[in-house]
């Protein structure tokens, strides 16, 4: 697997590069601004671009804008946004085109190396990785309508919204895959969502449900 990193702080750029290399992911380029990122991705055609939201020159949301541009110009490259803060609005923008191969995580998540590398691989393979904090915002909003779910089902729903597979949910909650499958089926039925094998489509369905007003 080949990755490009865009991060303006050298300390984090080097750390991230080392972390990925140690876990068998080749870092073909590490740049420090949005234009260089677009250029590097179009030239090197990596599997995934890992991008900090706040980049020079304005230190606002250049990274996000560059990532959205890349989704259009080179759809084959997955995009994982990492940031010191998460905003629901940004998650919505990233997911707006409906395609998989997208992620949005707090930088804190690099501390759990295995989970982080797992998220990188999942996104590079066309899946989704949403930060638990983004998901918590969505779930908090639709709280009333989730009352018909059991507490366990709500836990499963949150992990579904993060983009995890049934196996990964089973791992996180120390359940068997069969038990998770049962919970998922029950959730989809209670919320009247279409069943889907594709985890990304599942994320979109859950988030759309939580976003509905009323």
């Amino acid at each position: 697997m080949r990755a490009v990193i865009a991060e303006d702080l050298a300390l984090l750029r080097d750390g991230l590069t080392r972390l990925l290399r140690d876990n068998g992911i080749e870092v073909v380029d590490a740049v420090d601004n949005g234009d260089a990122l677009v250029h590097a991705v179009l030239r090197d055609e990596p599997d995934i671009a890992i991008v900090d939201i706040r980049l020079p020159p304005t230190f606002r949301d250049e990274g996000l804008r560059a990532a959205i541009e890349l989704r259009e110009r080179r759809p084959q490259t997955a995009v994982l946004i990492v940031s010191q803060y998460v905003e629901q609005a940004y998650a919505r923008e990233l997911l707006a085109d409906g395609r998989g191969g997208v992620g949005y995580l707090l930088k804190d998540r690099v501390m759990d190396v295995d989970a982080f590398v797992d998220a990188v691989r999942r996104v590079a393979e066309g899946g989704t990785a949403l930060d638990p904090e983004v998901v918590a915002n969505f779930v908090g909003r639709g709280h009333d309508r989730l009352e018909r779910l059991t507490p366990r089902e709500r836990e499963v729903l949150a992990l579904m919204a993060e983009g995890r597979s049934n196996a990964s949910i089973a791992d996180a909650l120390v359940l068997t895959v069969g038990a998770v499958e049962k919970h998922v089926a029950s959730i989809l039925q209670k919320l009247q969502l279409p069943p889907s094998e594709d985890t990304h489509r599942r994320v979109l369905a859950v988030l759309a449900y939580l976003e509905e007003t009323g």
Partner: protein
Amino acid sequence: MIDNGAMQRFRRTVHAAAWAAVLGNALLVVVWATTGGGTFWPKWVILSSALLVGAGWWIEAVDRSPRARALFRGRGLALHAGLSALLGLFMIGVWLCSGLGYFWPAWVIFALGLAVVVHAALLRSVRDGELQERVEELTVSRAGAVDAAEAQLRRIERDLHDGAQARLVALGMNLGLAEQQLGKDPERAAEHLADARAAASEALKELRDLARGIHPPILADRGLGPAIGALASHAAVPVSVDVELAGRPPAAVETAAYFVAAEALANALKHADAARIDVDVHERGDDLVVRVLDDGRGGASEENGGLHGLRQRVEALDGSLRIASPAGGPTVIEAVLPCAR
């Protein structure tokens, strides 16, 4: 102040009078010429009508030009000075027409000039009074702004001290313990490392919350609409957000407007027991108006430090804050922030 309709009628009258004067005087000159010349008597009529038309023209010119108004501050002094000048010129005209001689218009011009000087001096003393009042107002609001900034810095220091700094100490300690145990008891070392990671994670979360409280990144990135929208999306009560702005206001105004919305919203959520909250941000002339309305139980007051801090923040920008919160509700908090660009 002369309203626009009246001013237009006045302008038309001046133009008509000017034409009438030109035609009338031309007629008089013809009459004078056909009656055999002699002393050029129409000069008196020409001089008088020039005075009248000149006065009308001057009034119109002062009204039209903002620079003239600014120069004389208001129209009163400008009109006075202009009309005095015209009268002086008229006197000189009379002196010229009446065959020179002793320059008596000097006395008239002196008197007219004196009156204008007295007028200007009076105006200046009134203006000084207004300036004095403004200085007092600014002294109070500046002291408030300094207090508010000081209180905020103290709060940040305390949050850092009790939060992130303490977590980092714990993190370092756990790393030290892990290092010590690494050879002897790898399992204990792993536990300490896990604790260290948890402490780092907590420290990051606290720093993130602190940074958001100082200046939320989404406000800088996207402006008031999305930033207030993000606040609303975290609220447990339905919040309708209506932000209508032609562009981005100046940064200081934008930040103050955001914190008015944030504090009023937090207040409503915490104390008012409201079922719904409306946040409305729009422009009114050169001002930005932030209005937060909740249908809760009312009784919000500035005893609550947050609202007092808001007032200081708003007044530091020359704005005003209005809090209407009768017992039983509803509560309206409205800030008006000047933002002439």
